[in-house]
Amino acid sequence: MLELDAMLSGKRILAIDDLVESRSAMKKMLMILGASNVDVAMDGDEATQFIMDHDYDLVISDYNLGKGRDGQQILEEARFTCRLKATSTFVMLTGENAMDMVMGAIEYEPDDYITKPFTIDVMRQRLTRILRVKEDLRPINVAIDAQNKEQALQCCNQLLTEKPRLKNRIERIKGRTLLALKKNEEALALYESILKEREINWALLGKATALFYLKKLDASNELLEYTVRQYPKYVQCYDLQSKIYLEQKNTQDAQSSLERAVSVSPKQVLRQMELGRIAFANKDFKVAENAFRQSMKLARHSCYRSVKNYLHFAESLQYKISPKSTRDSRDGSNDAFKAIDEAKGIYKENPDYVFEATLIESTTYTNLGKETDAKLTAEKAEKLMAKITHPTAAHQLAMANVFIATKSHAKAQDLLAQLNARTDLSRSEERELNRTRNEISEKVVREYTTEINDKAIAFFERGQLSEAIKLFDQATSYKEAGLAVLLNAIQAKITYMEQRNVDREMAKHVNSLLDRIGEMPETDERYNRWTQLKQAQQRIMRAL
């Protein structure tokens, strides 16, 4: 049997507690018990830093770390980033009335718990047992660290016969592994056999998860309802419920499930982000705002920090921003600009993100009624987009919408034409594209084409035919281009072909422009000009 001092010596250990006396007492205890390499951290931020910088064999953390993130979140991040290997041990310290303690996701459970307060003898007793069990499970965890799930499964089966006392521990990992391998039928059978012996909360959730993957959504949901009635703190159930509702396209219930989860366990970043996304799509901006505000705050010093938190938050605030000088509007725009600036600062090396932030900045100005600022910012965004090598359809759509909001309809039209030519649009992007198209005012575009038309005529009159044709091409690319523009374009091209050389492509283009005009009534004052141009074109076609 392995003795504790042998198991602790040479191990790198991290002890986390927010109270200074507890920290030093814990370190002292560990040293007396045989540890030689112990670091201490006082909160989530410090702990995460330590875990990112060093490889720990054992982490012992208090669950409740005061204001910031709690022990469960440290654990989740450490395992999520694979900075804490499966072979490393995580022990959670909990207060005796752990009424507010929340269970984490099945894949992020601590190896064990120790209840506070504890004497050194209790610590010796528990740690010895915990580390021995961990040692027994080592082959499985080695396979997991090597990302060899099949191997892990084999180890589970082998250990189940060798270590019957650890049946539950092993089956817990086995169920997880089966689900990860998408062996859902087998996972379901395993969880059912466990539940036949005893109702255990993780087996209930495991069974519901297997049912979900097997598309038995109603059965899964029913089981989850039962499970949360029995174990109200088991928030993972709400997460899965929300996924079921999403699958059923019931976004309202998906949102309420997550709201229930958040009311029990508000500190989980990914859950807050998901709630924000769903609530935003449901146009429940109040809930979205709060969820994104929380996720931004919680993620600031964690591995989950992402530009999306800042940008979504700024977007979710728009509903309360208006040109009226109300308190809501002031607070909203202040918060939005703050989030935008923070995002720009953190992600300044990333042109995509700065671009996205700048778009939201422009929108904020628009909603505030500050048209000049909105337009200036939109132009900044335009320049930033030019720097992005391959702008995505989402980028272009967002930019087009900002162009529309800042009354740059022609620019928007240009972008939409580019978008229309793309073949990689998702279905929702197609819908968004159509919606955006309808927002463009035809009148404004016509004014713009007339503007180009005037410039082109100037070139034409100076005999700079190529320049004139280029501009006319631009003007006629808008479906709103008027009859006069079309006729001018035709005339420029025909003149070019008559004076210089006949070009098959150009001739074809003239035909298509003539097609766009269609038939013209004799009463039209441009009738004569139109027939002359048509005849000239016929001559050219014959010459081809």
Binding site: N97, M99, V122, R198
Partner: protein
């Protein structure tokens, strides 16, 4: 959040208990330092007896609060019995003239139970044995095929008085062992599995001494 007296009281009691734990540990250090000085033994003994009694009453109060709490559901999880029992014995801070406690079960034995509740039950059983003046206490386990287990705590004291054995139910009557047994039975009955319910049985051994049987389903 609604104002919850129970939660408030319970967190107060926990901090008192932590302080009590520190006192007991200091007192045990002191007893060690003074163990060769006979003139200190009598007051030390008195301090020890009283502080243990205080600690016991605190545990009882906490148990009452926990079990009677309206929103109470036992927190059933996998536990190693050895860990649970060792912590209880630790907390008792037995003096040099306390009884010897033998753990006559597989140290790798683990089962599903609410550790705090089973701690309360074991704690009360041990206190009963100590108060009865037992010299040896044995803790054994009998495992059943259906996953439940029986915890047997037997001692070599005078055994339970007949009047107590005749009582089929445990009622909190005044102070003393009546309350202890009542709390134990409550702690056990909070454990359910399918149709099975935890229970407490007391009896006397033919060769003398008391046996407390804790059935954990």
């Amino acid at each position: 959040m609604p104002f919850d007296v129970n939660t408030l009281l319970s967190s107060e009691l926990h901090s008192i208990k932590n302080r009590m734990q520190a006192l007991l540990s200091a007192q045990s250090d002191l007893a060690d330092m003074l163990k060769d000085q006979p003139e200190y033994q009598a007051p030390l003994k008195s301090i020890h007896r009283n502080s243990q009694q205080l600690n016991q009453q605190l545990v009882e109060l906490l148990s009452i609060l926990k079990i009677q709490h309206t929103a109470f559901t036992p927190n059933i999880d996998e536990n190693w019995l050895c860990d649970t029992v060792a912590s209880v014995i630790q907390e008792l801070a037995l003096g040099p003239d306390g009884p010897t406690i033998n753990l006559d079960f597989d140290h790798e034995f683990n089962g599903y139970y609410d550790e705090q509740l089973i701690s309360i039950a074991v704690h009360n059983a041990l206190i009963n044995a100590i108060n009865a003046g037992a010299n040896n206490v044995s803790i054994a386990v009998e495992e059943e095929d259906n996953g439940s287990f029986m915890l047997l705590i037997s001692d070599d004291g005078p055994g339970f008085p007949d009047a107590m054995l005749d009582n089929r139910t445990f009622n909190p009557q005044g102070t003393g062992s009546g309350l202890g047994l009542y709390l134990m039975s409550q702690a056990l009955e909070a454990h359910h599995k399918d149709d099975l319910k935890g229970s407490l049985t007391i009896r006397n051994r033919r060769e003398g001494g008391a046996v407390v049987e804790l059935l954990v389903p």
